[in-house]
Symmetry: C2
Subunit: 446 residues, 2 copies
Amino acid sequence: MSRPSPLSGFPEWLPAQRIVEQRVLDSIRRTFELNGFASIETRAVEPLDQLLRKGEIDKEVYVLRRLHAAAEDADAGLGLHFDLTVPFARYVLENAGHLAFPLRRYQIQKVWRGERPQEGRYREFTQADVDVIDRDTLPFHYEIELPLVIGEALAALPIPPVRIQVNNRKLAEGFYRGVGAADPAAVLRAVDKLDKIGPDAVGRALVAEAGLSEAGAAACLELASISSSDGSFADRVKALGVSDPLLDEGLDELVRVVEGAASLRPGLVVADLRIARGLDYYTGTVYETLMSGHEDLGSISSGGRYDSLASDGRTTYPGVGISIGVSRILGRLLGRGALAASRSVPTCVLVAVADEDSRARAMATASALRARGIAAEVAPSAAKFGKQIRHADRRGIPFVWFSDEGGDSVKDIRSGEQVSASAQDWTPPEGDLWPVVTAEAPEDRS
Amino acid sequence: MSRPSPLSGFPEWLPAQRIVEQRVLDSIRRTFELNGFASIETRAVEPLDQLLRKGEIDKEVYVLRRLHAAAEDADAGLGLHFDLTVPFARYVLENAGHLAFPLRRYQIQKVWRGERPQEGRYREFTQADVDVIDRDTLPFHYEIELPLVIGEALAALPIPPVRIQVNNRKLAEGFYRGVGAADPAAVLRAVDKLDKIGPDAVGRALVAEAGLSEAGAAACLELASISSSDGSFADRVKALGVSDPLLDEGLDELVRVVEGAASLRPGLVVADLRIARGLDYYTGTVYETLMSGHEDLGSISSGGRYDSLASDGRTTYPGVGISIGVSRILGRLLGRGALAASRSVPTCVLVAVADEDSRARAMATASALRARGIAAEVAPSAAKFGKQIRHADRRGIPFVWFSDEGGDSVKDIRSGEQVSASAQDWTPPEGDLWPVVTAEAPEDRS
């Protein structure tokens, strides 16, 4: 077997980078749990008809078959999930009788999309989702709470500050109807391309494809240019002179989200009326998130309210949720060396071995340290102590433990200081116990 | 959409069960990290030629294709990994220049096998692996250390005690050669079926398929019947009168593993010479693990030494590793109600809402509790307090928080006791802070 090469779009981390990823995931999990969200995991596969039911991404699904499957194989028609919302909706329907509503759940898993890989866009990546889902009706206040939870989760990470941009599907759809759009979804799809193709091309598409008048297209572009960090955007929308009951409802909701969030976390949430979101299933507030200094990466956390994603025909389960694109954030920050772990292993103490006959004693020392919560491993061989110290140094392990007739001692290999110690009571400084993750200044690119 | 039904072989847990799973995974991770193993994760997919290279399970691989793949699709030839050893070997070859050897790594991920589902055997399941891999040569002592690490990890879980059964491929192969086997691997495959088809059928297969004499087959069955918790098995093997240099080497190694482990953890490891392991790549010690009272489940943790799984033609990376079958353990114990969480949500405090105008204040109270590490959420609606208390009760949330003109108070809804409190300094009992997982007596089946 020759040396294998990486698969494009399937990122893997080295051990020190993985420590950073674990800390990020642990921190997100802790914030979600502190906010009362329960974890679930769903299987990696869903029936294809579920996966293709919503949104415009059917071409991106990975389909499974067993290598030696018979024609009537029971797995036929299964694909890997491309997000965590569709599987969650299916899980809720399947287990509704065993769940308490409203259900606050978080879900941190890999998802797969067969897209063309590029920076921030992978074929396998990790998402961290929070959703609240209820039976029949979902109180509006969750549309204010969810971005606050996401803001709390992201603020706890060693990453640049973020801004959550919100819009409202009712506002957009009402406005589009108000300017005469026969197919508001077509308008939405065109507006969603603003960042990619610019306002001129979108304006032409609004006329040619969505069937708007020149004035209607201009009004839609005007709408998309409005943003504000308080409720003042509403006056600017009203000044456009478009009238529709759904527009009024959406405006009212968006004002409540922006002002409600500002009262608890000023500066986190802004109204931005160009935000569209590609997926069809959103019906109220929609969210995108930009990371300061990395706006070119696109949204690092997105979601929205959905009213009819989960329904078994008799009962409907409306929800609202936001997903953090963990791999997108880490791909950028690890790729630029902006996040680093203080060592590549969890080990705090390497127990040296004077000769192979004393290995059992060294293992007992390591075991005594572990029993007190100190990560310890024994040196691989009874090499010269200088080589054993280099073994620790290469991994960033801060302490090496020695035993001889005179008793035990422990050496801080950074300072060279060596002190007598007992595995029963020696304790490392708090900051050395486990690897520390720090945000570094990005590499100087001048 | 009608109500979906579960997919056989793809288990999913309800939120309270998932809390148990999280605790089990957290505990395993902590033991591995305390022992100085670094985490890695590999992508879910591997090239098919890698997956089909070793072992006898090619029929079980799930192959991927993109739904609208062109003929020249770059994903062609990818399959989901069926274990974590083959991907780890590939990862080591790919990243050898960036890794420090010997490399101690753990890996906790889902794997997929297209097998016929049955109890303890799933199509998607979670494994927790530890391996030590080195360059060119791997010190033998890791074959003693690894079962001790696994024993420590399993002893820390709320599960019945375990016994690790070990054998040695050199011992078996040398013995099979010593009784005249032309193809020792064929003998191994036949012996591996002892539990399934019994000694008589295995004896016939040893003659008919592996080409042994009647006496040779009898000796192999005799060998497989030997077990001991100390080094005494070696005398019983020698008494069979078979002679081979590889047999002697394997006997010596197995004695060292059993005695070395016994000196540090008496009773954990036993020599059992019927242990075979299906996979081709093991070359030294092999491990299986039985859980007390659940022997019928089969091995819950298996592995072995492999000398040539990872090689790029110039450099070889020998390793030894053991995998814990997390889903197999949990499927049995959760299925029988033998493990339970004290509540179905992480929430410790539900902050009640007197009216919707006071929701922002309730959210600030919850935020103050969270800042002090207490999981808190706000009631979904300003319903009657009795209904809000029932909301907490249904989820097992122990405390409900009230605010009125008279100040704040907190009620333990189990005892009914209500005391004045401030979100700045109230602290719940340690045992109520997070859900507690306990091992319950199995349901009475009489």
